[in-house]
Amino acid sequence: MIFATGQVGGFLATSLILTLSLSAQAVQSDPLDFKRDIRPLLGDYCFACHGPDAATRQGGFRFDERDSAFGEADSGEYPIVPGNVDTSEMIRRMRSSDEGEMMPPPEVNKRPTSAQVDVIERWIADGATWREHWAFIAPTRPEPPVVQHAQRVRNPIDQFVISKLESINLELAPEADRTTLVRRLSLDLTGLPPKLEQVDAFLADGSADAYERLVDRLLASPDYGEHMATFWLDAARFADTNGYQNDFQRSMWLWRDWVIKAYNDNMPYDTFVIEQLAGDMLPDATIDQKIATGFNRNNRTNTEGGSLEEEWLVENVVDRVETTSTVFLGLTVGCARCHDHKFDPISQKEFYEFFAYFNNVAEKGVYNETRGNVAPVLAVTTPEFEREIGALEKDIESAAQILARLDAELAEQQIAWEAELSSSDFRISIEPAINLLNDQLATKPPQLEQTIAAARESNPVAPATFGPAIGFAEKDHKPVDLGSLFDFDASIGFAVNCWVKPTKYGAIISRMNEQESYRGFDMLIMDDGRLNVHLIHDWPGNATKITTVEKIPLEQWTHVSVSCEAPGKAPNIHVAINGRTVEQTVDSDTLDGTTLTTHPVWLGLRGQTPPYVGNISRLQIFDRPLDDVAVNNDYLQSLRFAIQASTGERSELQQADIVHHFRLGQAAYFEALHSLGTLQTKLTELQAQVPTTMIMEELAEPRETYVLKRGQYDQPDKSKPVTATIPAMFHSDKTPSNRLELAQWLVDGANPLTARVAVNQFWSHYFGIGLLETPENFGTQSPQPSHPELLDWLATEFVRTGWDVKQLQRLIVTSATYRQTSSASRQSFETDPNNRLLARGPRFRLPAESVRDNALAISGLLTSRIGGPSIKPYQPDGLWEELAGGAGEPPYQIAEDNNLYRRSLYIYRKRTVPHPTMTTFDGNAREICAVARSRTNTPLQALALLNDKTYVEAARNLAMLALDHSDDGNEQVRLAFRRATARWPDDNELGVLAKSLERKLELFSSEPEQANEMIKNGIAPADAKYDPVRLAAMTAVASIILNLDEVITKE
């Protein structure tokens, strides 16, 4: 899937092809080839007005269909009359200089050369032979041609390649030496260099099938699956974030693991396609089959607040159409979104018929500022998780038993406790500024009597154990609006005491304007029962936020107190639950500015957060903070009141409430309850850690699909409802009606494109460019494949072998074509820079991932471990932060332990800020599907290899291996060089390296402090056993080696 446009590539490649094709045209006797010589001209100059797009079609004829082009136009003229140039209107118009007649018309920028018109004229004169576009006709298996150099043929691939070479008097280059081959194979099949033992073993293996056995060994290595998956991740636009705006994290690594395993298990390609596109719809779909469908959930999902649902629902589906058609069909179906396709026979209606296959996912268009995976998701537990959860559940059971025992034991002591409480007085000396719902004190300010009475009237009220209560129902929930009752001014300080009995968590009290940067104050019980206190000037950059560790229970009366000292920094906020100050975590401590807002004080709600449902009682607000003693006294005073008020006539509920608080006051009980709570929290947390992955899932009721006028989401043409089907161009006798059938149709063997597209992608892994150089486009505008028959032969062979992926790789790499040396004359590189003729072996820079993996492997740092969540390697500080907005992700944390040195396919992919060295080496940002990468050669690459900690540390590690190997400088550099290239340096190279080492030793000897610095780069420490000067000098030499063109290049 990688193709090269080297520095000089494009021009010379083009010139070569042009030279070949023009020379063919130059000679009158050479036959013209419709697809090579004519079709591209029609596409470039004519299709815009006389092509597949009905909306822009002029003159009533089209040049993409034979009968129309040869038929009568609206004008009554015949555009093309085979064999008769004079009556072919097309030629007259193309030759015309009359602005009213000339074609293409004068306003069109693109103009054919007169040589191109000559070609068309000659083609018409010769009878205008017409061929359907090759890629739209199913391949027939060509017979491999007979070649003169038959002794070079290792398998049929070679016959096609040699045949073409022989036609221009060339031949295959000699086979590469064995060292080059073992390195090439290892890099190609596993993405890693060979270990020196492997090189030695292969060199020593004199058996006839040594090469084939090496191939089999590499194909069987688990590294193979990782390497193959790397390319697939680009195609599937796999990433670890959702890709829009704040670009929140998501978790799709289970899908990545699936891909690696599929390659390693050699899953047939047809199954690979079906499970990824529609595994969820297979009968009795397994967990793995569902995970596989993450392929089409890897698209970006919009979470930007305020975005419009319908718009992004459409974009999700469009992305799936584009990805699916590009990856499996090599078609640019997306071009027909707004109008009929300009070049390929795909109408706008057909686009939406294809769209309909993917328009049934049970998803939303916009997930408003949502972090993490979004539905539909699948939780996938492992046996370890199950075990841990089981153990916790057992612990919880025994903790509950202890609690039950204590219940019984404590009951007797309650009478004494009540008597003691009743006879005490815990009144506090500070007058509340506000007093509501409290029978012991008059309502303050008195004018609120009315408000409270009215609110109580219209709301359900629980029995008033600790004071009169106000209730909040879920249905028609309304906050109690207390107006500008109190300021909650952090710069002065205040306290709030109240009793709550929640049935659903929400804000107890708030005075906050969410529209104004959330300025204000709230006490908000989160959905897990922990209490948040916010003091905000401007969220999130200027605010205090704390969260309690302890939770407020549902359906129990609980005394809650929040006391805030000026200036409202996190340590100034004290929360007490049932009279005890509780532990809290600080989420934000940046408040600097007023918390005053004009928004009214609300009971039971804050802005858009979920409403508080339940009861609130005995609300007191103080215009100064309260200390711990005062808070506890207020709690006890409430208890005392409840006991006294209910003497003799205690209801069951009142009794239960009082018993509950009596028990909380007993240390043993409190501790037992606390430990039960801790266990339960742990269980919830563990359950939340069960990894999930996003999957496809059909809606029960299919969504209606319409043609969208001009492709606009808000312009459905309700007169044109469409149902899922495939474009007519496939002339298929099957009409897949849903996603599963679509997937099956793709791989049913009759499809003209699927196998060609797949083998072309695989081919490009090895040769740097596909047989068709545009893997993303097999349509009528695609260039000619370099070896059309070979492409078709490979496609039919792939299907014939049951879509055996490993067999296909084996076929390619065991060919003589692949085994050629990549060394060639300057002329060879200049006339054929992209190696389209295959007259030499492949030589090109490694893909981004392999550049890093290769250095880690050479230096012995690489950690091999398959699968799991993504990892974060070295990355310069601040890259995320400098682009992140207010809701960005937490700072980038470099991986700890050996995750730091794992393979690059596991690198955390943040789409809006991709890892810089991946980008520098032409890695894909994974925002949209890509089946090819550019391959550039830039100074930024040099800077990365020279200076990035990754490579400096690798150099140091390679230096240590070299020093361990021998005390002799020459032997050291020889080893380092061989680890990096698999070969020994020649005398010339060894001379340079040895001299280099000498000079570095001199340099560092005179600057030992630099040596000490040099060996400290990276996290892994250098062993103290090395002499710093020697290690530093060797590190510099190792860095030279790691920077060699050969080392980052497959030869």
Partner: protein, 482 residues
């Protein structure tokens, strides 16, 4: 078919290759750096470009990310005062879509600017009091009040401005120019990006690498982000313990070994790599030299304002933009975050203007006094406008505004654009354009045009189609050109 530039390119390569061993050292001395650079980076541009004589050599695009309100900057709407806090008439809104942030709002009350406007300069341009420095250069500005866009949320809107498409995947404007025109700069990339964070709204909208990405163009054309820290370009600094002397030795050794290998295997790509290592080495001095402003005289620093002394600020980036312009970097783009004022607009917008006003005007003045304004096109603007109606709380001193794609204001200066012109009209509510609409495509087409590029002819074939920055749209805004 045969193109002179490519032949030159080719010959130069041949020449380089022919010199054989010791090229590393030679590139340092014998060849002048421009030649070596041209050989190493892509950077001759395409055949046939420029399409016509360029009016500007370079662009400095001061992108105000988050979308500044037109009401408080350049689009003076005095009639709103009389009808403030009344409902926006349906005849104006005409059922246009609004974002999910205000679509639930009960009413849409008209909010006039809290800031006063006055006419400035000979041209009499109306500019708000929060932009006093910009007002002083009014006669150099071409203010466009009738910009419009298609997107209503930040991510698609800013992506659209930069790439001509709301979704990811297309090349950014700077990448298109790098691809088409190559580089004029000796030792610097042709597309440089610098970001700064506004004080008006901390925790504002993010930016994304794709905004200066290369899309389907080769990745070498993407913008290079210059950072504010000690290492302006990623991995520019030698690692600890590596002196310049050692680095030079290492590069010579790498070049020598690569040259040996090249003789062996023949691949000219190795030659390119050798040149790129030399270019990297030169960047290690040219970039710090660029970002070190110690040679700037005091009066220049004062002109840009106090922030210029703090790395990473908008003011510093403006000064660096001038230094980059002097070194012929083709496309210099600043992004200043913090303009998304859904609430507290008077306070937040005031701070943003304070961040940017003086330095933007200083950059213009500084270029002018150096004779660089004539061939430097300045662009100042965001991704959309803001609503005439208030979002959230509405008091006499406070209000906010939601996103509004139907019209917004930007300004251009220099580079062959008419100075002292205010172009385009909007209705009394600044809700609809009443004269001379300018689409994002039109702006981009015009920017390209000033650099000598016909936006319809700068194409790249991908997916069988000739893609361009302006898709099938875009018309030159001739009215604003000299």
């Amino acid at each position: 078919m045969f193109d002179l530039k490519q032949v030159q390119h080719f010959n130069r390569r041949q020449f380089m290759a022919g010199t054989g061993v010791g090229l590393g050292a030679m590139a340092l001395g014998a060849l002048n750096s421009r030649q070596a650079f041209a050989n190493s980076m892509p950077e001759l541009g395409l055949a046939g470009l420029p399409h016509h004589t360029p009016r500007a050599k370079r662009v400095i695009y001061m992108f105000q990310s988050g979308a500044p309100s037109q009401f408080e900057t350049f689009d003076y709407k005095p009639n709103l005062l009389a009808i403030q806090k009344t409902e926006l008439p349906d005849s104006i809104r005409m059922g246009q879509r609004i974002t999910g942030m205000t679509s639930g709002q009960k009413n849409f009350l008209v909010a006039p600017s809290i800031f006063k406007f006055a006419q400035h300069g000979q041209s009499g341009a109306w500019i708000s009091e929060v932009l006093p420095y910009t007002a002083k250069v009014a006669d150099d500005l071409c203010i466009i009040k009738s910009m419009k866009t298609e997107a209503i949320n930040h991510d698609p809107a800013i992506t659209f401005c930069q790439t001509g498409f709301q979704l990811a995947g297309r090349p950014s404007i700077g990448a298109w120019l790098a691809y088409g025109l190559g580089s004029e700069a000796d030792d610097l990339p042709s597309y440089v990006v610098m970001v700064s964070r506004g004080t008006g709204r901390t925790g504002d909208q993010p930016l994304y690498d794709r905004l200066w990405g290369s899309g389907f163009l080769p990745t070498k054309h993407q913008g290079v982000k210059f950072r504010s820290g000690t290492e302006p370009v990623l991995y520019l600094d030698n690692p600890a313990g590596c002196t310049t002397q050692l680095r030079r030795q290492m590069l010579d050794d790498v070049a020598e070994l690569n040259t040996i290998r090249q003789a062996e295997v023949g691949d000219p790509e190795i030659q390119t790599r050798i040149s790129q290592y030399e270019m990297a080495f030169r960047m290690q001095s040219s970039v710090p030299e660029l970002t070190d402003i110690s040679d700037e005289p005091e009066h220049i620093l004062e002109m840009y304002g106090a922030d210029v002394r703090i790395p990473g600020t908008y003011a510093r980036n403006c000064l660096l933009a001038r230094r980059l312009a002097e070194r012929d970097v083709r496309f210099i783009q600043l992004f200043h975050m913090g303009w998304d004022h859904h609430n507290d607009l008077p306070e937040h917008l005031g701070k943003q203007c304070h961040d940017t006003d003086q330095a933007s005007a200083a950059l213009l003045t500084d270029l002018k006094q150096r004779g660089l304004l004539d061939d430097t096109l300045l662009v100042w603007g965001g991704e959309f406008g803001r609503t005439t109606y208030c979002q959230g709380d509405f008091t006499d001193t406070n209000y906010g505004r939601d996103h509004h794609p139907r019209n917004y204001s930007i300004w251009l200066a220099g580079g062959g654009v008419k100075p002292g012109l205010t172009y385009g009209e909007t209705d009394d509510f600044s809700y609809n354009i009443t004269a001379n609409p300018v689409e994002v495509f039109d702006l981009n087409a015009t920017i390209l045009h000033q650099l000598g590029v016909d936006h319809e002819r700068l194409t790249y074939r991908y997916q069988g189609r000739d893609y361009r920055l302006t898709d099938v749209h875009g018309k030159l805004v001739k009215d604003i050109l000299l």
